[in-house]
């Protein structure tokens, strides 16, 4: 349910919804939902000062529990975190 919810939330706010994929990874450090978007849409899902990424995390944690992490990745594999 939670990856489907995240996928829906992201698809609704990008120009290339068909390029959105969410991968559910269960690792040693807990559950991570990896969101891949079209490179043109990465700025949009991050938002000004990371505002949109934070909003996505807030909603997903509310639905899925504190242990869920959300990672934003563009289709080239670059991480969204500041370098």
């Amino acid at each position: 349910m939670i990856e489907e919810a995240l996928s829906h939330l992201v698809k609704g706010i990008v120009d290339n919804p068909d390029d959105v994929t969410v991968t559910d990874r269960n690792g040693r450090r807990g559950r991570t939902l990896e969101v891949r978007v079209h490179p043109e849409d990465l700025g949009r899902v991050i938002g000004r000062n990371g505002r949109t990424a934070k909003a996505l995390r807030t909603v997903i944690v509310a639905l899925g529990g504190e242990s869920v992490r959300v990672d934003l990745v563009d289709v080239d594999g670059g991480k969204s975190r500041p370098e």
Partner: protein, 170 residues
């Protein structure tokens, strides 16, 4: 009115949609986005759309949606942010849509207006300024609006998220 004239009128209306139509469309886009989320999360909620004070307003009531409100409404604010973006993605225009869930904002508005009225009385009786608790822009506006109805004035001070309203003596 002849057929041709009617058609011309409709075409013009489509070209430049009135504000009310645009806001109603915003509400519909928002409702679709939120309804699909409720379905996925298996949550029950009735979605109500309206236009208030020149903004689209969407309210969800279900009785069991407190997870979507969150502590201090933080999940609600996040959902509102995402919903505005979803609307913008379709319309290409900035949205100032207001989202409410389980009447959280309505209740909050009442609480803040009451607190502002108490502070106004305090300023009047003591003659000294009163600093309100830190609030978000939506909440500060409620205080400013309440003060504007009295014969006092107010201003904001500090930086987000600690920005607060100060009510000044006359």
């Amino acid at each position: 009115m002849s057929e041709t004239t009617k058609e011309t009128v409709i075409e013009q209306a489509e070209e430049k949609k009135p504000l009310l139509t645009r806001l109603e469309e915003e509400g519909e886009i928002a409702a679709d986005y939120l309804e699909a989320l409720l379905d996925i999360a298996d949550l029950d909620g009735d979605i109500d759309m309206d236009v208030e004070n020149g903004r689209a307003a969407v309210a969800i009531a279900g009785g069991n949606l407190s997870t979507l409100v969150g502590r201090n409404g933080e999940v609600l604010d996040a959902l509102q942010e995402l919903t505005r973006l979803a609307v913008q993605t379709v319309t290409d225009e900035r949205s100032r849509l207001m989202l409410d869930i389980e009447g959280y904002r309505v209740q909050r508005r009442e609480e803040i207006a009451e607190a502002a009225l108490r502070a106004i009385e305090e300023v009047k009786s003591t003659g000294t300024a009163v600093r309100m608790a830190s609030m978000n822009p939506f909440e500060r506006k409620i205080v400013h609006d309440t003060v504007a109805e009295s014969d006092l004035t107010s201003e904001s001070e500090g930086e987000e998220p600690n920005r607060r309203v100060v009510i000044l003596p006359a």
